[in-house]
């Protein structure tokens, strides 16, 4: 028997339905349940219970016969997802089935999905940074997209609130462009990273090389253990050391007694009542039985992931909303953003041959944005900016394979650490373009006969200019820091690889140009909230998940207050 209540009831009206159980859905469930709302979470995939359902969490390479390699059948099942380079037998079971869930790439776009309880919160990169007013004011200042209806001061207390519970490690720096979180102790830089930090910060006043800020516990918190530096996170952590819905928010929601989570529930649409002028429930298809069921609720939180939430809204057609629920503005499905990455530089570092490290730190270094700040250098080639992630490590296998050598001495060296290598890869902001969009494709149906998404989006001139600068700066910084054999790279990859899809149901001040208001309510259906990546009005250059958490907690607080005032 699962420790979660999975028996959803058709005949009652829930206080709240949450669609999706990933990072933002988990937070919505926790907040709504803790505020006393009887909450039904609808999850498209199976249950994944913390620890119990992490079958690969302790496996060494030799414990699996193919040592991580996928079979042709597994590759076919993930024929799109394997482009990411992230799917092995250790995590294959947490990646969505591309054959059963097709999507159409009008232009190349990689859409990584995770269809089970916890969603991509099991697999995510765990880099967690606050956004700042540099981000929230950006659209208003340079005129791209529409103005955010909130500012940093509106969300700052909610950042603190979610950080205290999620557990974010990092070092306070006092940087205005990257506000400090409520931090647990930072992880440690290794010898080479410390050395390069010194060189870069001396050479480039205003640039900083810091340890990554991440959702890993460096001290125990609320019964969760601290990180053991195994770096096997995406298989699920037996210690609960990193933040996931499975380890953190859903168990918290469950202890309230207010949570029901229904697995295998594919949301078909949100039901809108024209007489009442609001949504009254959610129509699902049971993934196993194909049964069509409607569950009723007073409020609905859409947390299916940016594109999936958008797909549901587009598919929620009624007389009032012929083009999809909340789509009066025509912006639903538009303004799709992602971060560019895999543009940067790498090389080798000499002089530390007698130094090594112990442990596999699931984190790297971060170089916060330094261009186009309020004070400081401005670019005439692009608006917005970028930051870098990276790290130093000693590699053996690749270096050995490349050596023009073999035999006994070669084998001895193969058993010793190779040279130190260092890389940085930029993450740049992507502007919200109306032309970058998703729309329903009635010609391609999924396994359950539902229309699928077509994705028509690409990086444009500003992103390309940012990328060119990233590469140039990365090479120059590494060379000036004394890194040897520096090689710049620019994968010029398509959108989606950042796995930071955002913006297709954006927040805004004006219902004519946006889908959601300042509290993530659909302008014309105020009991429907969208608090996943779809709500984002701009993309910043820093990782978005922490902001989804804060925005969700803030919206849930508002929802309960409005419900209690009978405003919704």
């Amino acid at each position: 028997m699962p420790s979660f209540n999975i028996d959803a009831e058709k005949d009652i009206t829930y206080d709240a339905i949450v669609i999706g159980s990933g990072i933002s859905g988990g937070w919505a469930a926790k907040e709504l349940c803790e505020k006393g709302l009887k909450t039904l979470v609808l999850e498209r995939g199976r249950l994944v219970e913390h620890v119990k359902d992490y079958p690969t969490m302790n496996l060494d390479p030799w414990d699996t016969e193919l040592r991580g390699s996928l079979t042709p059948e597994q590759k076919a099942k993930h024929y799109k997802g394997i482009r990411s380079g992230f799917i092995g037998t250790d995590t294959e079971h947490f990646h969505a089935n591309d054959q059963e869930n097709p999507y159409t790439e009008v232009k190349p776009f990689l859409w990584i999905r995770a269809h089970q309880m916890g969603g991509r919160s099991i697999l995510w990169g765990k880099q967690t940074y606050r956004w700042s007013d540099l981000d929230f004011e950006a659209n208003a200042k340079d005129g791209h997209g529409v103005d955010w209806p909130i500012r940093y001061k509106d969300i700052a207390p909610w950042y603190t609130y979610v950080e205290k519970f999620a557990g974010i490690s990092g070092e306070p720096m006092g940087l205005p462009q990257l506000p400090d979180s409520h931090f647990l102790p930072p992880m440690e830089l290794n010898c080479v990273e410390k050395h390069l930090k010194g060189r870069i910060e001396k050479q480039y006043p205003g640039r900083h090389l810091i340890i990554g800020r991440c959702a890993h516990l460096t001290v125990p918190l609320n019964g969760r253990g601290k990180c053991q530096n195994r770096n096997r996170c995406s298989r699920g952590c037996p210690y609960g050391a990193y933040f996931s819905s499975n380890a953190v928010t859903l168990p918290a929601a469950n202890v309230t007694g207010n949570l029901t989570i229904r697995p295998f529930s594919i949301v078909q649409s949100i039901v809108y009542d024209e007489v009442k002028g609001k949504a009254t429930g959610v129509r699902i298809i049971d993934a196993e039985t194909n049964e069509d069921i409607v569950y009723k609720a007073k409020i609905i939180f859409c947390n299916a992931s940016a594109l999936s939430s958008t797909q549901i809204l587009l598919n929620s057609k009624s007389k009032r909303f012929e083009n999809g629920l909340g789509n009066d503005s025509g912006e639903l499905g538009h303004n799709l953003m992602d971060h560019t990455y895999r543009i940067g530089a790498l090389g080798s570092v000499e002089g530390f041959e007698d130094k090594y490290y112990k442990g596999r730190r699931p984190n790297g270094i971060y170089i916060p944005r330094y261009v186009n700040l309020k004070d400081g250098p401005q670019s005439d080639k692009f608006v917005r900016g970028f930051g870098f992630q990276g790290g130093a490590y000693r590699d053996t296998s690749r270096v050995a394979a490349n050596q023009e050598d073999f035999g006994a001495d070669f084998k001895d060296r193969l058993l010793q650490p190779g040279p130190w290598e260092f890389f940085i890869t930029g993450f740049s902001e992507c502007l919200p373009y109306h032309e970058n969009r998703v729309y329903l494709n009635e010609d391609v149906k999924d396994k359950w006969g539902q229309p699928t998404l077509s994705i028509d989006a690409e990086f444009r001139e500003n992103e390309k200019a940012l990328n060119a600068q990233i590469r140039e700066d990365a090479v120059e910084m590494l060379e000036n820091a004394g890194v040897k054999n520096v090689q710049g790279f620019n994968k010029e990859h398509e959108m989606g690889y950042g796995i930071h899809e955002m913006g297709t149901a954006r927040m805004g001040r004006d219902p004519k140009t946006s889908v959601l208001n300042a509290f993530n309510q659909i302008h014309a259906a105020k009991n429907v909230f969208v608090t996943d990546g779809a709500c984002m009005t701009s993309s910043s250059c820093v990782n978005p998940s922490l902001t989804y958490m804060a925005i969700t907690a803030r919206a849930a607080d508002h929802a309960v207050k409005e419900l209690n005032k009978r405003n919704i």
Partner: protein, 197 residues
């Protein structure tokens, strides 16, 4: 009775160590025949014997186990059999045989019977061909470069099979599945081994 046994028995019966022409031809044919003590799933016996000789040249047994001691040949055969699609398998077989044929053409015999200096000379000539593996960022190679030769790809697979074997991973390299703390700067003595994971 296998061939080796047949030769031994024949020479015992002859009561001499002098090789008769008949015995010599038997021995030669034996040396050019595959001699493996396992049943491949994908490779032919001859291909498996070549792969074995290749692995043994790249990673021979010394004070530490060699590639064959940890069954890298058996493992790679299984990888080709179970994780390659048909086109990939066909490509692998063709390339492997071309590599084997080059050794025969240049040195007149199959790799497994070549003496050490011929083996070394052959592999060293292969080392000069093609590009090198590029550094990667989170599993994706970046930058530009010439394509990597089949030889180097195979060598890389041998290294992978060796380093991820249980014997090497737990007994030879330093095995620490649950490190606990991360220490970012510790001394490394001359000759000290890597962490296995």
């Amino acid at each position: 009775m296998n061939r080796r046994e047949a030769i031994r028995k024949a020479s015992v019966a002859a009561g001499t160590t002098i090789l008769t022409p008949a015995l010599l031809s038997l021995l030669q044919s034996c040396q050019s025949e595959p001699r493996i003590d396992w049943v491949p799933r994908f490779l032919s016996h001859e291909e498996a014997a070549f792969l074995g000789a290749f692995i043994d040249t790249i990673l021979p047994r010394t004070a530490t186990p060699g590639g064959l001691d940890v069954k890298v040949d058996v493992f790679l055969d299984r990888i080709i059999a179970e994780t390659y699609d048909e086109a990939g398998q066909e490509y692998f077989r063709t390339e492997l045989n071309e590599l084997a044929d080059r050794a025969k053409e240049q040195y007149g015999a199959t790799l497994s019977v070549l003496n050490d200096s011929d083996r070394t000379a052959f592999l060293m000539s292969e080392e000069k061909e093609g590009g090198k593996f590029r550094q990667g960022v989170w599993g994706t190679p970046v930058g530009e470069g010439e394509p990597v030769s089949f030889y180097r790809n195979l060598k890389s697979m041998v290294i992978w099979g060796y380093l991820t074997s249980e014997k090497i991973g737990t007994d030879v390299l330093r095995y620490d599945p649950i490190p606990g703390n991360y220490l970012g700067c510790i001394p490394l003595a001359e000759g000290e081994r890597s962490w296995s994971l």
